[in-house]
Subunit: 284 residues, 2 copies
Amino acid sequence: MIKKMALTQKSANKIFGGWQKVFSHKSAELKCAMNFGVFLPAQSETEKCPVIYWLSGLTCTEQNFVTKAGAQRYAAEKGVILVAPDTSPRECNIEGEDESWDFGTGAGFYVDATEEKWKENYRMYSYVTKELPQLISENFPANGKQSIMGHSMGGHGALICALKNPGMYTSVSAFSPICNPTQCPWGQKAFTGYLGSDRATWQGYDATELVKSYSGPALDILIDQGSEDGFLKDGQLLPDNLVAACAKASMAVDYRLQPGYDHSYYFIATFVGDHIAKHAEALK
Amino acid sequence: MIKKMALTQKSANKIFGGWQKVFSHKSAELKCAMNFGVFLPAQSETEKCPVIYWLSGLTCTEQNFVTKAGAQRYAAEKGVILVAPDTSPRECNIEGEDESWDFGTGAGFYVDATEEKWKENYRMYSYVTKELPQLISENFPANGKQSIMGHSMGGHGALICALKNPGMYTSVSAFSPICNPTQCPWGQKAFTGYLGSDRATWQGYDATELVKSYSGPALDILIDQGSEDGFLKDGQLLPDNLVAACAKASMAVDYRLQPGYDHSYYFIATFVGDHIAKHAEALK
């Protein structure tokens, strides 16, 4: 008998005719308490709805997307549930977990760690692809269809979750994703810390590498990237590498370089309606 | 010769084709540095646009509206400039200014204080109705037409600014406003502190009182109020008193009690599009 996991409601606010709620639960994968946001459109009161997962970027909690993206309006129109988890385990008492803004707390990087110090808690990949969907299907009126999107580190997360699990997500999109983490400073730091120094193991969490061997239903990736994003200029995001790999693998990718936009939630707010519309269409 | 006031740009983010900027300046009225947010729609690059002022509630800075309301989308569509000032003077070194969340810092109440301790700095009424509009007209492509709206304490602020200055604002609206501050605990505390114990002077800053003597162009007030707003239940907002005063004075008011909504920015985000559409139509 599978024990239904217990959820504690932290907040509930009516918005655009539906409900933005935040729950806390004890995660089996991460061995700590985790928060996630869930937007339940009015349609979900009378019928089961598809789910879009949102994965956030470095330093974020579940709150950033919930309060700043303005996504509920579009999800309300389309009748989709939005789920936004936190970005890492919290308060695990691991030495050094709070030392960096780009590693440890707030920076789980959506991998399952193999290094001794981190492997008990830092299993965000399994949390996002297994535990959280099970939790959602057990506790909310989800119809079994799901898509995934994210921002920056969470854009990387969305891409690898879709590429590693053909058929699990109907569609995938990303805002300013870290496209080739094995080749950028953020990714190299995180992968060294969580996965160790054997670079061969890193490739299983790198979208640009995963595209080369993907075999499954067409994903038709949508990526929005701001042209004035400082992290793009710093070589942390490397979208050109992903676009080139997609071209070589004949994988469709709609890469939109948006002139003047930066890396912020102002950028996300501007285009999240396009992403939700695309996912909602695919999830029909 | 009038000296043009100097602005310091604190941030600029592209959003919905326009720019969300935050500026700081030294306020002559408040004798301290003040921040305000301004959204400049794409239309303002080639033509002068109308302005809608937003006044925030207790504890807010200029950031709450800028990051949480999702208003830029609607302002971009309608071609209106949005201006969101802070809610009080800051760091004036007045004894007790930081002791309460509902008085002093973050709680200017949009009055010009007369009490000795506060009267040098706490002049938010003059700041919002005189200094700030002058600053906007000198520094941004404003066409001279303006409306005003706000939330809670800022809803009170919007209503009194419009009622005390017939013709200055083309239209006025409010979310969960403090409608009758002379009759509620928040208002009584603030007015006692800023204006002293003579209740006759309080009436000049009370929307329900001002409606009785208003003489000027029709204002056609729009008010949205959440039915599950805890402050409504606590008797802090008293919209029925304002609605009754409007009925008696034959002033049009569209009072919408929105079932299930609370006092939060989730509520504001849901209906701010309606408010901007109404103001934009009036400002044409």
